[in-house]
């Protein structure tokens, strides 16, 4: 048993920290720190800086543009990125479709898409959920019918994050309506500029436009945009979910929230004292801090298991479950820290793009955004209820 960084790790950590200190633009850092949505321009600007550094795709093979980092180095990178308040790359390209194309894509697909994912010239979105299929994803109904050299797509996707910016979508469609529900699904790449696609915004509780509905009416997608085999799409979708799982607990991010919470509590007054000295508030802070510590050691333990070639069972579900709850607790405590100044949440100021509230302490800005958006942490990527189903199914089999 060993819980120490090697000398190389420590040097890598220093290098990464310096990179963030020097290269992360202040305007981006500020929005990220406050928990505000990062506009497309900032997101792309930052991703291109990562690309220039060669650090855009830690999970890719080195000869495709990956970094060749060990899991420890990836952990260090994730820690430092979050501590520096650097926005993580949009996952849809580099973390989701990228690895799928590397594993299952044709050479043509790889050559066409991978470079643009790496340099962030193409913005991807994910076409999975449908109005009738939430936790039960495999019940999806969007239909693709072969017609000449095209699939013709009809149907609807929902909860499509950032589809309004997207150039491309990877999309699950039903190609065999008669097969069992997991077996009639194919995995398609769809150019978002194709006629027949309509993107409609969904405004969230945070009053931001992050989510969308995407409607398909006789949308023609060339057959060469099929990934892998027809009707095997479920396999690729599942393999993609595996990739989504590293650092699923968002420990590094929660640690940054904790730092911010302590900063705020150290300036927020209660009468002639500071909030950080209030025993009630402090105890809640301690409770979540300790739970986060256990979560972090768990992340390290499971990481070590993977480094040893061990197979994970219920662990990712546990990490998702605990991690999402801790995020929500922290975001609630941030709200609580503001006292009465937690009430204002000015839609008009948002519409003006003035972004800053007319009143209240400067640090109040963004906290409600983050809190409201954060309610989705226990929903997306498998609800807490689904995670518990998964965990207990695996346990009961033992």
């Amino acid at each position: 048993m060993e819980l120490k960084f090697s000398q190389e790790d420590l040097e890598f950590k220093k290098e990464v920290r310096q990179f963030f200190e020097n290269k992360l633009p202040a305007d981006i850092k500020d929005r990220c720190e406050r928990g505000l949505v990062i506009p497309k321009e900032m997101q792309v600007r930052w991703q291109k800086i990562l690309f220039d550094q060669g650090w855009m795709a830690p999970n890719w093979p080195v000869d495709e543009g990956g970094t060749g980092w060990s899991l420890t180095q990836k952990y260090i990178f994730a820690q430092e990125a979050a501590a520096a308040c650097a926005p993580p790359p949009m996952p849809f390209g580099v973390n989701m479709i990228g690895p799928v194309l590397i594993k299952y894509g044709t050479e043509a697909q790889q050559q066409k898409h991978l470079p643009n994912i790496l340099n962030s010239d193409t913005w991807w979105c994910q076409g999975y959920s449908e109005p009738g299929s939430g936790s039960d994803l495999a019940s999806l109904k969007t239909k693709a019918v072969k017609d000449g050299n095209d699939y013709v797509i009809n149907g609807q996707k929902i909860w499509t994050s950032y589809a309004q910016y997207a150039d491309m979508m990877f999309c699950l469609v039903r190609t065999d309506p008669d097969a069992k529900k997991q077996e009639g699904i194919s995995f398609l790449l769809i150019d978002m500029n194709t006629p027949g696609i309509e993107v409609k915004p969904i405004i969230g509780l945070d009053l931001n436009h992050t989510l969308n509905e995407v409607f398909f009416t006789d949308v023609r997608v060339p057959i060469e945009n099929l990934v892998g085999e027809e009707n095997s799409g479920w396999t690729y979708a599942k393999s993609l979910l595996e990739h989504e799982r590293s650092f699923i607990a968002r420990v590094a991010n929660s640690k940054q929230l904790l730092v911010r919470l302590k900063q705020i509590a150290s300036t927020q007054r209660i009468g002639d004292n500071l909030l950080i000295n209030n025993p009630d508030f402090r105890r809640k802070l301690t409770a979540v801090e300790i739970d986060l510590m256990a979560l972090e050691y768990s992340e390290l333990r499971f990481l070590a298991k993977q480094m040893d070639g061990g197979q994970l069972g219920p662990e990712p579900s546990i990490m998702k479950l605990e991690g999402s709850q801790i995020q929500q607790r922290l975001k609630k405590l941030l709200v609580e820290s503001l006292g009465m100044y937690a009430l204002p949440f000015d839609a008009d100021a948002r519409a003006d793009e003035s972004d800053y509230l007319a009143m209240g302490p400067e640090h109040a800005h963004g906290i409600l955004d983050q809190h409201f958006y954060g309610r989705s942490a226990t929903l997306v990527g498998g609800t807490s209820e689904v995670q518990k189903n998964v965990i207990s199914r695996l346990l009961m089999k033992r």
Binding site: S139, G271, L343, D346, P361, L379, E385
Partner: protein
């Protein structure tokens, strides 16, 4: 011992329920919330016509002599529809303070206008450092001529933006957090030296910060005796907590009903969500929370009504040894806990659609969350409760 409404109360409830049913569908509310004002002057006039704006005031002043129980039943209906008009700030807080402390002239002019629906009012008692403590007043009022000069910062005045008059607390003597030395003033928010910063709260209501710089106040606009306002402030906040608790009960019941209906309709894995035991159990817990909250809210309303009438605690069932202030703090804690639990779980049980601004459940969630904070959160009132017991 009974928890039934009288015939008059049932009639009042029917009228308000009908108003909410007719005017506060999710769509109607969303439209209203998106207007510049954020609520409806026409509804406000309807409230005046229905007598709601006169409800708690003495008959002698033209009021209806309604009790905290009557107010609670109105607020519960309002909660069901997430009514946006500034009832508590105008009628319960400002109205309550004027009715308790005002001289004949103030009562006649201000309450008359309030009851007629011609004036909205608000109460500014918070400050940036005060968090939830109404005795924490750093805003100063210095004598100047026959009147006063106010300097300071009153924060998050609920429904400040639409208020024609705002009652503000300021210190005429005493140390910053002393209960002695606090005075109330009737402020014209358009007076010279007043900067009113307006915003919307997360649940779509108005709120203002008031920056007061050498604001001149006439002697006529001192409300009550100089330096002696604290007991009336405390009493007004108790009435407001009772009202907002009843609102929460109405909102929680609606939230639970909407959520259960959704679970019955929404299909996943080939069956309705309502067939999953873990979700069934959650709805049971949510139901239990609202039942506990209703009991507290109704008991508090009766407690405040009876303590207005006499001071004999002995005959009060269940809280023979408990002060009204204790019941108030306990109610706010219990309802804050229920509101948070129900609000968060209603979003969780809805899944994606619960995260959207268009669907109604998120608005219940936000209102419930705001109610948990308004007038003091669970920690604040737990500590208040403890101070009353242990000193």
């Amino acid at each position: 011992m009974d928890f039934k409404y009288s015939q008059e109360q049932t009639m009042l409830k029917d009228v308000v329920d009908r108003f909410v049913a007719d005017n506060y569908s999710a769509e109607q509310r969303a439209t209203l919330a998106n207007t510049e004002l954020g609520h409806s002057d026409s509804h406000w006039q309807t409230f005046a016509d229905m007598g709601l704006l006169a409800l708690p005031f003495a008959e002698a002043l033209g009021g209806m002599e309604g009790s905290a129980v009557d107010v609670a039943l109105v607020m519960e209906s309002f909660g069901k529809g997430l009514v946006l008009e500034p009832y508590i700030p105008t009628v319960i807080l400002a109205g309550g303070l004027i009715s308790t402390l005002g001289n004949d002239q103030q009562q006649a002019s201000l309450l008359g206008n309030i009851m007629a629906g011609k004036m909205k009012a608000a109460f500014g008692y918070c400050e940036p450092q005060s968090r939830f403590n109404p005795a924490d007043v750093e805003t100063s009022a210095s004598p100047a001529g026959s009147g006063y000069i106010l300097n300071g910062h009153k924060s998050i005045v609920w429904h400040g933006p639409s208020a024609n008059k705002i009652i503000v607390s300021a210190r005429t003597s005493g140390t910053p957090r002393s209960k002695e030395g606090i005075s109330l003033f009737i402020l014209d928010p358009n007076a010279e030296g007043v900067t009113r910063l307006n915003t919307r709260t997360a649940d779509g209501q108005g709120a203002s910060d008031l920056l007061l710089e050498n604001v001149q106040i006439d002697a006529d606009d001192l409300l009550g005796e100089e330096g002696k306002a604290y007991p009336a402030i405390e009493r007004a906040l108790q009435a407001a907590i009772s009202a907002v608790s009843a609102e929460a009960v109405g909102a929680m019941e609606a939230t639970n009903e909407i959520t259960r209906e959704y679970l019955k309709i929404r299909q996943q894995f080939g069956t309705a969500l309502s067939n999953f035991q873990s979700l069934q159990h959650r709805t049971a817990e949510m139901y239990s929370e609202v039942e506990m909250s209703r009991s507290m809210s109704e008991a508090l309303a009766m407690r405040l009504r009876d303590s207005d009438n006499d001071n004999n605690n002995d005959s009060h069932i269940g809280d023979e040894d408990t002060l009204p202030a204790q019941t108030t703090a306990a109610t706010k804690v219990r309802i804050g806990k229920a509101a948070t639990f129900i609000g968060e779980n209603s979003v969780q049980l809805h899944g994606g659609i619960g995260m959207t601004n268009e669907y109604v459940i998120g608005h219940y969630y936000k209102r419930l969350m705001m109610i948990d904070i308004l007038f003091g959160d669970q920690d604040y009132h737990s500590r208040q409760y403890e101070q009353l017991i242990y000193g």
